[in-house]
Assembly symmetry: D5
Homo-oligomer: 94 residues x 10
Amino acid sequence: MLFHVRMDVNIPHDLAPDTRSEIVAREKAYSQELQRAGKWPHIWRIVGEYSNFSIFDVADNDELHTVLSGLPLFPYMDIRVTALAKHPSDISSG
Amino acid sequence: MLFHVRMDVNIPHDLAPDTRSEIVAREKAYSQELQRAGKWPHIWRIVGEYSNFSIFDVADNDELHTVLSGLPLFPYMDIRVTALAKHPSDISSG
Amino acid sequence: MLFHVRMDVNIPHDLAPDTRSEIVAREKAYSQELQRAGKWPHIWRIVGEYSNFSIFDVADNDELHTVLSGLPLFPYMDIRVTALAKHPSDISSG
Amino acid sequence: MLFHVRMDVNIPHDLAPDTRSEIVAREKAYSQELQRAGKWPHIWRIVGEYSNFSIFDVADNDELHTVLSGLPLFPYMDIRVTALAKHPSDISSG
Amino acid sequence: MLFHVRMDVNIPHDLAPDTRSEIVAREKAYSQELQRAGKWPHIWRIVGEYSNFSIFDVADNDELHTVLSGLPLFPYMDIRVTALAKHPSDISSG
Amino acid sequence: MLFHVRMDVNIPHDLAPDTRSEIVAREKAYSQELQRAGKWPHIWRIVGEYSNFSIFDVADNDELHTVLSGLPLFPYMDIRVTALAKHPSDISSG
Amino acid sequence: MLFHVRMDVNIPHDLAPDTRSEIVAREKAYSQELQRAGKWPHIWRIVGEYSNFSIFDVADNDELHTVLSGLPLFPYMDIRVTALAKHPSDISSG
Amino acid sequence: MLFHVRMDVNIPHDLAPDTRSEIVAREKAYSQELQRAGKWPHIWRIVGEYSNFSIFDVADNDELHTVLSGLPLFPYMDIRVTALAKHPSDISSG
Amino acid sequence: MLFHVRMDVNIPHDLAPDTRSEIVAREKAYSQELQRAGKWPHIWRIVGEYSNFSIFDVADNDELHTVLSGLPLFPYMDIRVTALAKHPSDISSG
Amino acid sequence: MLFHVRMDVNIPHDLAPDTRSEIVAREKAYSQELQRAGKWPHIWRIVGEYSNFSIFDVADNDELHTVLSGLPLFPYMDIRVTALAKHPSDISSG
């Protein structure tokens, strides 16, 4: 089941640089693990912003919340989720 | 080059049903032709709305405007375009 | 799987009264059939507005869009969908 | 009498972890006590956000404000209350 | 139980003048009957707008919705309801 | 002359508890003195928020600003003022 | 007593040109009469918009509403009123 | 003197096609005459919208309003003007 | 050339009281010097807010930015500028 | 390929003055280098604000994000990017 997610990152300016680097590194590893598992099939940077548009492919709403609230950057992000359905013009599925 | 596009459709209630059906049919054909050409790789319905999120893959800004302003439903849509860049965590390209 | 839905109804003032009554009657029947089927467990009127908050219980996003876009009043409503997950403080399930 | 409530939690990043844990624990106990008393019949997590939609069933406006302003997280939340009435299509009450 | 209500009136410009006058006259009679019954203790014009702030004193949410949806101008108004509680600094009741 | 005022209080979390208590106590005394003088005839708590709707009855705009900017909580509040006029449906004055 | 007023004019496109011209002419005469009476000391066009910022000098809120609701263009305008007080840095009065 | 202008065009769907074409043609001629005169040095299409960002170079505010309100599409556009000053990092003028 | 300016002041609560007083005193002197020079012909307090509406009369956009960015409170203010033109109904200039 | 960019700068008040000066100086050098390279053909100050409107001319979306995220002030700015296309009325290119 697909969901569209927008994430806007706002890390406080007074966070210690080491802590910041460590969180950002964990975020990257966490994201790539989910990408490899097929649960996070797309992630795009929004040009000019510390933000992304992503597509998630999960079993249900609860799994999506578990995945998102487990993001190392979750405490520093605004996240907006939009449920997606198949579009009648979409040729991708037969 | 990738762009994120949100389209919200607002067809006037007093449009003649035949005209409406004809435009919607042309829209579908137009969209599918662009999908087959690889220029409109993703289109998703936003659940509960007469709206979609789409990803376009075009040569440049001018081509994107030509494609979007040629949509049969263009006069009846609100469209918002967001330029996308590769995300540093994206594993898809290499 | 649960979703929170807000519906705001805006029927054009120039719609023929008979047409209006007929659509509203079909809307009510459609809603009650879904309530009886367990797919629309809650519907509340927002005081002072021609609007409701509803909870839907469906198999997935596609079913929800099918249900919502089939509403007889769909062409006259603004609908906003929010995906819901189990709350960690919720005592209702266990 | 039913009310729809949205709560968005914003705990300051510099709150001491122990204080934070203690407040969150008290919030959970407070919520569950009200759920068991029948005053807070529904609470759902909004997917991807540190937020919930809740339904309260209280005697009147004053009781609702007493309940909400007594939440341990009240100083850290944005709360929006919407008064609910019975919907004419609702089959739940005979 | 008290509620704060804002009403913004938007009568379509093409409504027949006689119909308009008749509705406005019925609205005034309806309002004054509720004022005399003690259910609509305050109504103020917002300077420069075809709008009012009102205070309603009703038994519960359902009564308030019945009263508001019965307004002759209801189809032409945007209405926003806010539940009120006693303020701890208020000297008026004791 | 009547004015509608909305006040939203945002006291910084790091204000010393004693300072906070002292300001809140002065605010209450200040408000009640104005209520007794007839200049602040109504104050209602907005349910679920640290906010109020108030009605002020003052000689002119300058007096209202003097009164509001003298509130002990003024540095911590967002205040919005709306000028009120007599409503043509109001039965209260003759 | 001074008030700041913003007026945005939205005349429907299908209003008969003669009716439109007649209303606009009456609006101008009405405005100039109030300017000569000292009640409308300033009116400025907002560059690029069919809008103005104005300053009114009236006895009280009721007079302002009478003046504004008497504008020939009142049914076609959005009006926002802001109460003004003397600024402590203002050198103009003494 | 430079100004930044955003124009959003909303031509009513029921405008006669001939009238529409004639206005759009006059708009183009009017714009190009101003471009040749050096008063409208830049105009860009916003991708996906019937809108433009423009830069105007005029003697003063009054000239800008005369130019903008003379646009054949003026009755069908939302226009927002922003005054521009030289930027301290700008290398273009010496 | 006239401009309408709205200024909203937000001085951080943790600014040292002496620093604050000194900046506010300099702001007043700066404002009054510009008033005496005829460049700041009007300043009004917005009732209930730490804000003002002002009218500036300057040679051009660059002078206005120089004046505004030189305000001692500039780092603590949100400023919105609107270019003004002569209104066709204005009787003040002949 | 052209893009319209709005940048709003918000440097925290508690940043050390030396650090601030050093970042602002680096920002200026960075901007001027890109201007000389033809990648940042226009930059204008928005009157009254610590903001600019800019036009960028880059090869593609990825280059634009690289340029913008490399701005020394990037951590302290809100940036909004709009893709631009050639306008059909533009006389500048043949």
